[in-house]
Symmetry: C2
Subunit: 227 residues, 2 copies
């Protein structure tokens, strides 16, 4: 499903070039469950943003489901993103003036789904993460963990084949984290591919493969858990 070849990303800050991602080459197959770990600043979010088509590499190639997406226009990339994947951002990226329900429904607006159907599906996802009673709160009227769960619900609402989640349990207590992982596990059992950035080993334990980043490179790539 995912194939990256010598993927690189440098940022310019004033006159300096920050090498956020060195050459990363790897493949992730359909239905895999991969955990991404590594120190703060090691390139995990940069890598996830490239996988999610939210950013373009400085060099290297990225094939998603057999199609080279490296050269696509912004619009074409947005269309692929909308129909194929769900993204949970490290800092949630919710629209501040929209309610939880409207935030969760947003991918369905892009997908051309009619309003009554959007509301029904968005509410179903909110129920799944235990937030049906917060549907009309705006993000500033939600706790940190509630905002995170709204971001997760939004990533699920369009039935994506691939879920990219950047620290999805960062703001959640242990019990809520385990409930979320059980939900993600169930999605994976049904064939959905998961790539999850986490710094918690208890969360990484749900995955079947762990990629470890350090200084913008993958330094370890191992299978974990029961076969």
């Amino acid at each position: 499903l995912i194939q990256v070849t010598d993927l690189r990303r440098e940022y310019r800050v004033g006159e300096v070039s920050v090498p956020a991602l060195g050459g990363v080459s790897l493949e992730i197959g359909h239905g895999e469950f991969v955990a991404v770990m590594g120190p703060s600043g090691s390139g995990k979010s940069t890598f996830m943003n490239l996988l999610g088509g939210l950013d373009r590499p400085s060099a290297g190639r990225y094939r998603l489901d057999g199609e080279d997406v490296t050269g696509l226009s912004a619009d074409a990339l947005a269309a692929v993103r909308n129909r194929t994947l769900g993204f949970v951002f490290q800092s949630f990226n919710l629209l501040p003036r929209a309610s939880a329900l409207e935030n969760v429904a947003l991918p369905l607006v892009y997908a051309g789904v009619k309003v009554a159907e959007r509301q029904r599906r968005a509410l179903a996802q909110l129920e799944r993460v235990g937030l049906a009673d917060r549907a009309h709160h705006r993000p500033s009227q939600l706790s940190g963990g509630q905002q995170q769960r709204v971001a997760i619900a939004r990533a699920l609402v369009n039935d994506p084949r691939l879920i990219l989640a950047d620290e999805p349990t960062g703001a959640l207590d242990t019990l809520t984290s385990l409930e979320l992982m059980a939900l993600l596990q169930e999605l994976n059992d049904n064939g959905i591919t998961l790539v999850i950035v986490t710094h918690e080993h208890d969360i990484a334990a749900f995955a079947r493969r762990v990629l470890s980043f350090r200084d913008g490179r993958v330094v370890e790539d191992r299978a974990v858990g029961a076969p």
Copy 2:
């Protein structure tokens, strides 16, 4: 240092009233190291915002260092906050158009410190959290864990007597989290009072007392660790 009596906070959302904090009564002495735990949405951040003078209770009283702060004007509250405490927000709250250095120096601007001294002290705190080489990056040019560390450095820069930290290791990998806790431990050894919200038991283990929240109330208050 901290004394709250029947502290309550309700929010209005449309026609509904959300009881975020029921009556909380407790005291925290000088030099204590307290961990605050509890499920998502149980009132932890609401409680911390009240302790930090960033919000006013709907009912109840709050004495900080012997002074009733419940009735203070916004300006008087800001002055107390600036000279007494450092606050690490769950969502960092960094100024997006300012560099890491400028963000860390901000409390010193309010304290009337001159520019050269501000820069020196801000850089010292950035070094402490391992980010001297990111001093001129803006928040959007930093990783999640780097933004969190800038928020921590900002909370320390004015040598506060009380540090209120809401999930300060939420975006940090294990090693960086432990380095941060060692730093906070050292501050506590030097007499600084710490109140830390965390959902990670490994982090709570550094504290000597744990407050557990559920549905807006403190349901458990116990001493932990070696005497």
